[in-house]
């Protein structure tokens, strides 16, 4: 055989997990997510099977000021929490080229 004998996905597809198995494993995994460390976890309720975390924030001059992430797959309370910008490190020093050129 030149192909994989079985394929299981644990992250990319969550709600589609049972369809990703060749086995008869019917155990459903509950996936708990949050998009901010100050938020509580909630069980996912995405209908897409994939929980994309999209960053949001603003650019101040050439600097990106991160406000946080959100995902359509989890509840509002787990997206927001009590996030405040509290980093010592500077950010935004990587990533600018992607918006000047096409990606890979």
């Amino acid at each position: 055989m030149k192909s994989s004998t079985s394929i299981t996905l644990v992250l990319v597809s969550t709600l589609g997990l049972s369809a990703c198995k060749e086995t008869n494993d019917t155990h459903k995994k509950n996936v708990y997510l949050r998009s901010d460390t100050s938020a509580s976890y909630t069980r996912t309720h995405s209908s897409r099977g994939y929980h994309a975390f999209v960053p949001y924030g603003t650019f101040l001059g050439n600097r990106y000021q991160r406000a946080g992430y959100y995902s359509e797959g989890i509840r509002h309370t787990s997206n927001v929490g009590s996030n405040s910008f509290k980093q010592n490190a500077s950010r935004g020093g990587f990533g600018s080229s992607a918006f000047r050129s096409s990606s890979s």
Binding site: M1, K2, S3, S4, T5, I7, T8, L9, V10, L11, V12, S13, L15, G16, A19, C20, E22, T37, R48, G49, Y50, A52, F53, V54, P55, Y64, R66, Q87, N88, A89, S90, R91, G92, G93, F94, G95, S96, S97, A98, S101, S102, S103, S104
Partner: protein, 379 residues
Amino acid sequence: MIRTNINPRDNWQQKIESLGFSFHTFEKPYWDESVYYSFTLAEIETIESATNKVWDLCLEAVQYIIDQKLYNRFHIPEWIVPHIENSWNSDAPSIYGRMDFTFKDGIPKLLEFNADTPTSLLESSVVQWFWLKDVFPDQDQFNSIHEKLIKYWKYLIPYMHNYPMHFTTISEFPEDLITTEYMRDCAIQAGISTKFIDTRQIGWDEEEMIFYDEEQSYIKNVFKLYPYEWLINEEFGSKIIKDKNKTCWIEPSWKMLLSNKAILPILWKLFPECQNLLPSFFESDNHTLSNTFVKKPLLSREGANITIMEHGNIIAKSQGEYGSEGYILQEFCALPNMENNYPLIGSWLIGQQAAGIGIRESLSLITDDTTRFVPHIIE
């Protein structure tokens, strides 16, 4: 290699979306299961063997480039050279790459090597595998990418810092995000603790000279789906060599030598007897090529800025914004014409082994970002 039309599965969109493959359609379908390719086992073994062979030659070529200090031919800045050499000499872990071959008359010919940030991984590894199980459950496919990824992540654990692996890309780009998250999926299954961070959120503390994530945790291992030629030319690029943690970057910086098209004339110079290579030269060296050749920028992506010349005339050309670093010339070896479709074989290398193929089919001789991914079987 035979091209066959076939009816797509009912609800194919839903089926592949359940695998996390959300970017299957742009203006036209990118995933195209109205067609498939079939190969004989002998053909697959030829592609497999060529991939392993060219990989061995690539490793020899990297050592040659380092020994001869040929970095100027790659337009690699001097300040990053010690990092490249250190990553090579310390066997810094590399996990994957995709060699693009034209497969004509039974011989795979290397067109280029996507050694740093190859995409089309999820569709090659997962999506076409589930298509096979649905449509041809008794047939085989050259595709053990998923198994080999998990196995190789496990193998790499001792080479990494004993710390979580951060996975980073630009999260607005669905293809890049999902490819990165798929890699992370495999790493999780290998038992590695992981985090995702958007590339723009990587933090740098100038006093401590350490990279941080958003939770003020060290970044000591990074899988990046973000090309080195961008990374090193950005504001934090120079921090990579100042980094006190000596972060483990995957792919390692020595892969910059293989992802640059300058590797093609180097390979040809060293191994002209290899039937899987095409005659290639630096444009600046004024070599005489055959009447038909391809002009490629040292650094370009998605088939941009490629020109095919025949008897002094342009027969195909793609637009783009690359080429300032210079060009290489490669003897033209056309993709096979399959009912006016031109398939390109993307042969995956996982760890040190050929692991499977993905086929991208275009309507022109230049494979660009509008090509369609089509599945395959072994008869």
